[in-house]
């Protein structure tokens, strides 16, 4: 226990040191434009809290990876509680940061158990993989939902915009899958075709009145 804990503490200390090196200029000094030049103020308190969080986060993660589940869970719970408490940390972001660190440790700790549980649950009692059975009707259910959604009261403007955006990304993903996945060519310029399509529609509809209701 002794040398192992020492090893984890050293590892966490090194991680915190690297984090300090990364953050000291970009986070520690905040520059402001005051019209006739730049000035800066210090954010060392924020930086310090973040570094301490990173130290304990790293400690919790390596404890969890080492199989010391209960200390890791306790550390995660403490971090989560600090982040969620009404304690006055300097910014909302830091509250999120501390909470997420705690959550991450908890997730990392229960991951082996959850993974085991999932592996058990993946097979129905008769040994049939449930994933295949679900996949069969899941696509059909999604398609049905997409068709029905505009007619339900749920389908207001905001939801429809979001749904259209999602389907646009799905379509982009299909196209990219053909070029990258099937042809094996990493086409970074693929998204330019997206732009060409958008411009074509814009020009046709503003100049020739096509496609506008």
């Amino acid at each position: 226990m002794g040398p192992r804990l020492q090893h984890h503490l050293k590892d966490a200390g090194l991680t915190a040191l690297v984090a300090a090196g990364l953050g000291i200029f970009i986070v520690g000094f905040r520059t402001y434009d005051i019209g006739k030049g730049l000035t800066f103020d210090y954010q060392f308190v924020d930086l310090g809290i973040a570094i301490v969080t990173i130290f304990f986060g790293r400690l919790g993660l390596s404890l969890a990876a080492d199989g010391l589940a209960w200390p890791a869970l306790a550390l995660g719970a403490v971090l989560g509680a600090i982040g969620a408490s009404p304690l006055k940390l300097p910014s909302t972001f830091l509250h999120w940061f501390v909470t997420l660190a705690g959550l991450l440790i908890v997730l990392r700790t229960i991951w082996p158990w959850a993974n085991h549980g999932l592996a058990v649950a993946r097979h129905s009692p008769r040994g049939v993989p449930i994933g295949q059975a679900v996949a069969k009707w899941f696509g059909a259910a999604l398609l049905l939902a997409a068709v029905v959604l505009p007619m339900t009261p749920l389908g207001d403007q905001k939801t429809m915009d979001l749904a259209v955006l999602i389907l646009t990304y799905v379509m982009l993903g299909w196209g990219l899958n053909i070029v990258v996945g099937l042809a094996g060519l990493l086409d970074l310029g693929y998204v330019a075709f997206y732009a060409v399509g958008a411009y074509s529609y814009a020009l046709l509809s503003t100049q020739y009145g096509l496609g506008s209701a």
């Binding site: 990364l22 970009i26 434009d33």
Partner: protein, 304 residues
Amino acid sequence: MAYFSQQLINAITLGAIYGLIAIGYTMVYGIIGMINFAHGEVFMIGAFISLIGFMICAMLGIGSGAVAIVLVLLLAMAFTAIYGWAIERAAYRPLRGSFKLAPLISAIGVSVMLQNYVQLAQGARPKPAGQIVEGGFNLFSADGFDVRVTWLQIIIVIVTVSLMVGFSWLIAATPLGRQQRACEQDMKMASLLGVDVDRTISLTFVMGAALAAVAGMMFLMYYGIVDFFIGFLAGIKAFTAAVLGGIGSLAGAMLGGLLIGLIEVFWAGYFSSEYKDVAVFGILVLVLIFRPTGLLGKPEIEKV
């Protein structure tokens, strides 16, 4: 003639900056065969650290002398190198040996993350730095037009050339360079022969980031303004430079950077500044059609 000379001077300065960034791309590609798309963002971080370093120097009363420049240069190189190391350690090393696209996508993710990190920590507005090195001299006058060289341009070219010479020596003549070349040729064999591959790759990223920091500092001093988005276009241009010169070759990266600077400045000077990026990338396409390995690149030999 005078106009041409002036444009040439400006182009060489710009090309030196692009070349410094391009070396980072080319070294990383050479050693692990991956395009580090986060490198442009490392350059941007270097520029920001230099900006803050200069402000701290001004606050401490060091002023804008040669001392401040050397101090900030060392500071920016050291702290940007930590970024290079951390990116490799956190985002690329766990994916080594994974399928080929994985580290590339991870690099794009790191690039977006660093942009947002700096935007969040420093704000989205452009930061004016003011002039740090002032003055220059007139080289000659012709047709009522002064050809002017600023001290800053001389500093940029001298720093770039000396770093270039230093790094070529480092690759060619030191044990570290030998290890890097060994990893480049055959990583598995190198590790069998006692080369610490992880350490060598980490050091490659550290060196690339340090050079990007120098480029960031030069950019800051030359243009006097930085924001969180400068890394994107500079990164793409430098990547273009590395590919144009032949990716994997140090001299090629420098030559490519110089060519990109020349094309960009002369196109903007003689035709139109709106289409200068189109000209740069158009010439890249032409070169790649006729020489797929770039100007100084060696054709890939399939090792059996």
